[in-house]
Homo-oligomer: 645 residues x 2
């Protein structure tokens, strides 16, 4: 197996009508906003204390640690987002701020390399003693990712060296020689170690990542053993009656064939498994990754590319169990799914992965953040009725409005770093080919056998299905251009230098041979709204339809369609009319059709059940993109709409 390469972020410039509004937010709003959050300067937001914890650990301030055990990751993810942003937009002030934070992290580092403000301040004697819940390795992993991103963006080694020292400590503490047979309760360090290996070439890091994966799920279960120790102290009460399934430690990873447990943990682990499978050319492990991917994408994924249907423990449940109004569908889980899918696409060159990645990015990543960049969804329901999302009920995890910040604040900085790295999803390449995965107006430059090739896309996708590809190929390098043909494209045209071509399609990519100095290509397909149904085994969706245009899922909102959206029936025979509305939601395509609604006429307020005919009324329906929901006013929202049977 040979892996396609990501294009370095600083080589891809995005200028795109769908993405710019969000990507621009990262630099203009989200990074400064989160900086204020980390400094506890946003009134009314949940306290972060993120930087203060480091200051206390560094003995620059006195005070108590505050937050959850993995509070440090908010700082790490902020730094990673900054690094990714700096890779495409230099900003000296921001870089200076980041350097100060890095100095602070280094100051909080212990002499042996250890970094973790919770354990440093509160329980230094408890290091590595509660891997199930302590999140030390998880936190370390995020620091590793941030350090690698910062090195890649700035070329500065300080942060990287600091974190390598920490990684060296981890590799020693958790070496087989030291008989420490543990592994993280929350996977993430495996990804970080692989990234450290990629920039440093130090195979110890890669081997440690592999070792963590291979230990996982061996009998007796490490975490259950850990719980038996006399000094064991539970951190999270909800982990009482811990099921190893929750952390994918119920059996060895190579024996796992269904996606189980906490969704974010799962997909972060699968990312590392894909990395390790590639680095060790381990086909068996890659097959496990594909099996797990298939289990998710065939049975456990929402149409919005979100995963994890249980509100309790944020986890996968059984196949086809996809409730729309009480799902968890954590933003971070979709981000992890995209990271996993991108790795699988790089290794397998199969477009089925990017199909899902595109779905996750265009819908759930963006629904996770408000259009002003100042509030966020952790949970991404497909149906909301604000009045029943009451505190201290089964629905309390569903928030009908985005929140300013969270006690467990993984999602907002994860959104920021993902938006800042969208550039890495658009193109792949190897020595003789360039791959177009996503249709985003952008320019990139890659080297084909030492020859620089400039490639640009100009498109109004996902509003429109025309992509103009221009290539500057001064050295007239010959290469294959692989263009993804998404499932939603029924027919397409490819015009190379004004002439229709009919290239071979392999695993969802059309393969076009390119040569000459300035070839130009037009890729055209009809991109019209379509009606989808779910596999009838999805009990919650049977008798319902969803509307998509390209990768974008559409939804009904109360502000456009009135209250009681579940009483609406769509007639699939009616035409779906789309129009672009410049003044709505910053400019968007909306979809209109005719429907009917069950009316409450004839029902008195003292009648709950009775023998009664249905009274229906024709009403116009208006759908807006799911990622934009909740950006106007609080109200109901619905993706899966009932249909006439």
């Amino acid at each position: 197996m040979e892996k396609l390469t990501l294009v370095q972020l600083n080589r891809t410039k995005i200028r795109d009508s769908y993405w710019d509004r969000y990507i621009d937010l990262v630099k203009s709003t989200i990074i400064p906003y989160q900086w204020n959050i980390l400094n506890d300067k946003i009134p009314g937001a949940q306290t972060s204390h993120g930087l203060m914890n480091f200051k206390i650990a560094a003995k620059r301030e006195t005070g108590e640690f505050y937050g959850v055990v993995f509070q440090d990751t908010d700082v790490a993810k902020w730094l990673e987002a900054v690094a990714l942003s700096l890779a495409s937009h230099t900003d000296k002030d921001l870089e200076n701020t980041a350097d100060e934070v890095i100095d602070l992290i280094e100051a909080a580092q212990q002499p042996d390399g250890y970094i973790n403000t919770y354990f440093t301040i509160k329980e230094p004697e408890k290091r590595w003693s509660n891997l199930e819940e302590g999140h030390e390795l998880y936190t370390a992993g995020h620091l590793m990712e941030a350090a690698v991103a910062y090195y890649n963006a700035t070329g500065k080694r300080k942060f990287l060296d600091c974190i390598c020292k920490f990684a060296d400590l981890i590799c020693t503490v958790f070496s087989n020689e030291n008989n420490k047979d543990g592994y993280p309760g929350h996977q993430e360090v495996e990804i970080g170690l692989v990234k450290l290996y990629e920039v440093t070439g130090n195979r110890t890091y890669l081997a440690q990542a592999k070792e963590f994966l291979e230990r996982r799920g061996r009998e007796p279960n490490y975490f259950l053993e850990e719980e038996k120790r006399p000094d064991y102290k539970r951190i999270f009460p909800e982990f009482e009656n811990y099921l190893p399934l929750y952390s994918q430690s119920h059996k060895p990873v190579r024996e796992q064939d269904t996606a189980e447990g906490h969704a974010v943990r799962a997909v972060y682990m699968y990312c590392a498994m894909a990395d390790v499978a590639y680095e060790y050319q381990d086909k068996e492990l890659l097959q496990v990754c594909e099996n797990l991917w298939n289990d998710i994408s065939y049975k456990k994924m929402y149409i919005t590319g979100s995963i994890g249907s249980s509100g309790l423990l944020e986890r996968f449940t059984t196949g086809y169990d996809l409730p729309n109004n009480r799902n968890y569908s954590e933003t971070c889980a979709s981000i992890g799914l995209a990271l996993f899918g991108r790795r699988m696409a790089q290794i397998t060159r199969d477009a089925k992965y990017m199909e899902v990645v595109e779905r996750a990015l265009y819908n759930t990543l963006l629904s996770g953040v408000a259009m002003d960049g100042q509030s966020f969804f952790y949970v991404n329901p497909l149906e909301v009725w604000p009045d029943n999302c009451m505190p201290r009920t089964s629905m309390e995890h569903v928030k009908p409005v985005r929140q300013k910040w969270f006690g467990v604040a993984c999602c907002p900085p994860n959104i920021a770093r993902t938006l800042a790295s969208i550039g890495e999803y658009i193109y792949f390449y190897d020595k003789s080919s360039i791959w177009i995965n996503l249709f985003i107006s952008s320019e990139t430059v890659v080297e084909i056998e030492g020859h620089p090739v400039h490639l640009s896309q100009k498109t109004a996708f996902p509003n429109d299905g025309k992509i103009e590809i221009t290539i500057e190929n001064e050295d007239e390098a010959e290469f294959e251009l692989a263009i993804r043909i998404p499932e939603y494209v029924k027919e397409y045209g490819l015009i190379l230098d004004g002439k229709a071509i009919y290239p071979e399609v392999q695993k969802g990519y059309a393969k076009v041979m390119i040569s000459g100095k300035n070839p130009s290509l037009v890729y055209k397909f009809a991109l019209v709204p379509r009606i989808l149904r779910a596999n009838p085994l999805v009990k919650e969706d049977v008798g319902k339809v969803a509307i998509m245009k390209g990768p974008v899922v559409y939804c009904l909102e109360e502000v456009d369609n009135g209250k009681n959206l579940p009483a609406i029936f769509l007639d699939p025979e009616q035409e779906l009319q789309e129009s672009y509305e410049e003044n709505l939601l910053g400019g968007t395509t909306v979809i209109r059709t005719a429907g009917k609604k069950v009316m409450t006429d004839g029902w008195h307020s003292n009648e709950l059940y009775k023998e009664s005919d249905l009274t229906m009324e024709s009403i116009p329906l208006m759908f807006v993109p799911y990622p934009y929901w909740g950006n106007r006013q609080t109200g109901e929202m619905l993706v899966w709409v009932k249909e006439f049977i």
Copy 2:
């Protein structure tokens, strides 16, 4: 206001095809089974330790308390069920056993009258210090109810006197003079105190019940204050961030107009409010009761008469929030609703209350117990998909099969005592009238102005709508016979001594003047299956129908209709055919009709969402009574079925 009187249990004999199978279980199976449970003699069942706790508290055994803080109530409710059973069937052995348990309770009583094995054994110094969670008053209330029932059944005073001593202690500790301004975290003692007043005539008990109600919800909130005390220790972790709403202490009871919080607590409190409203002739308080009743029955009740839609904290949520597959709908809550409704019916003489009581008894009470009396539902869903009721998920509270016993075992003994007291729901009377509420083959005798009147019903209800009423009225007393005309009766005939009569109907009761020695009356109505819809504001039920026959809700089960019940559509234009099947479920009416089902033809296992036409297949449907579900094999169950639109 003048209250109708309940007929003493020993005066009503039931011989009824619908009820006998369950009522007989109480004596033959449930009481002996629960006796073995209380003695920890059922292998594989959850440990009870119920009697052992009393033995330890009485110093007859040594050992540790085991169970929840209100473990004693299992013993109390068992005793109450025994008493109610003895009222209609003498059984010397059983009575002897009960007397031994009563001796044991007395032996565990502290010198000042206090009874509670948890606090006696484990934390004697903590008495009355955690009213929010300690359940001491709740436990006391169940002992009071048991003692009154035992006195009524046997005439023996020992248990009553023992409990009166405890009640006297409570009235002293919680008197205004002692400045103890507390009230129970879980209501129940108020009911018990009223019952003690009813048999002893001691108004102190009644006044204390009233005082507990009046204190409730005053500012500052008693429980929140209690939590602030330095020695406060939380018992139930899930009560962290306690909302006073949960225990109906969010505002004074007279200001409450919506049913809120934990459903069982709520309806037990409303029972006591109705009692106190009557005893003090307090019309304002009675109006509060009616408002709360209306809020439940108009907006927060399932078609099966079950209540409490949130799995978290077993509570009411907002109006019309009635999910079918993740509701709580605790069996005890329906029992409490029936108790509340019966009181309101006695006071107001309005049939609307018994309509709901009948619904709760015929459906949720009975679904709570298996036909063999040896397993129980705590949670009563209206839709079940066994595979997704996984441990440690949002659905884990829903059990697709009845359980042998529970850690918190309120429901099984509550079912037993309710089945044993069905006789109290059938008739009411006062000095010049007899009221028929339920159509159950039975005989009763009441005194009309000192004259004994024997009345019997013979009926195959709910299979059939013919009720033959015979009366033996030796003294030729004149009285009014009030016969309930349920909502589901569209047309009816009343034939008095062979002659059709057309009596006035008031608040849902037909009023027939009776005189003469042996009048006989036939009450006939068509009792055919009917299709009901829910108020379209019930989002979960819109586009669906439910089938009922009389008060009995019907459901689809997988064993009769195959897997994936939510894919089934019923055509409301098709005829509903009923037939009596002698060999099914002990003999039952089933309902058949034609439907269609969305098929998975054309869907491959790797397809989750696609553009695809619906493929439907005609299938025969068979509905069985909801109370009987889950008595054959584990599988899906569904009450609300989609309909063709």
